[in-house]
Symmetry: C2
């Protein structure tokens, strides 16, 4: 299993909006071309980014803009928005342990908190990384290689 590509697609989208904001009108078709996926996927992700107040969308010929600075958009924000992880958690627990077995009856309760702790450290780390960090790396690379 892996966390859905929607997460990295969303990061790509936000980075593009920032990168091209003074040059081109950024649309879902344009983004689909850069990301390499179907425009409908882009629109679905965009729609959630809009709900979360990360980007602003206007229909017609306008284009998409950022609703707040890149430094204030963390990986965690994007990860939450894109529903990469089920509400039942990062880990999928086996669902039918035997209630007639003392271990089966208690395994879920015994593991639950521990799995949540693991997920929590991962999410904490995601809060410490922003899209601005990605944008910086990309501009740096472009300046080096053209």
């Amino acid at each position: 299993m892996q966390i859905s590509t929607k997460f990295t697609i969303a990061v790509h989208i936000i980075t593009c909006i920032d990168y091209f904001k003074d040059t081109l009108p950024v649309t879902s078709s344009f983004l689909a071309g850069s990301v390499g996926v179907n425009p409908v996927i882009i629109r679905g992700v965009m729609s959630k980014l809009k709900e979360a107040g990360i980007i602003a969308i206007s229909q017609g010929k306008s284009g998409i803009t950022l609703a707040r600075p890149l430094t204030e958009i963390t990986f965690y924000d994007v990860y939450k928005v894109t529903d990469c992880v089920n509400e039942t958690g990062l880990f999928h627990m086996h669902e039918n342990p035997n209630p007639d077995c003392p271990v089966g009856r208690n395994i879920q309760m015994a593991m639950e908190g521990k799995l949540q702790d693991i997920q929590a450290v991962m999410e904490q780390k995601m809060k410490e990384i922003s899209i601005a960090d990605v944008a910086v790396d990309i501009r740096e690379k472009i300046n080096q290689t053209g």
Copy 2:
């Protein structure tokens, strides 16, 4: 997406082997009954736990035993063994960013290290939790509720 149930199944298996070691011969069918999945799934997980030197299996009527103490079996050991995460990492990056776009050309390189860092903190946390911690919680719960 979620991390495969094989992980929690493996934890359940190890906990059961320890819990019943002085009472019953533990077999794949018995474990399948406690875990609530098909015996073939149990055998597949067992096979990997054996390769990793976590349990010892003998065919015939014997049963399965632990190869080392519960305190020396971490969540990370079990997670690695059960191939819960692809060799390409916890995150699935979109695979066809456009090389003709400056952002598309560099996005993978810009994200790679950051995604690895996130995965690393999660794995570090898993190294700090052992199956013994689960066994303690289960015995405690059994003593309270019968």
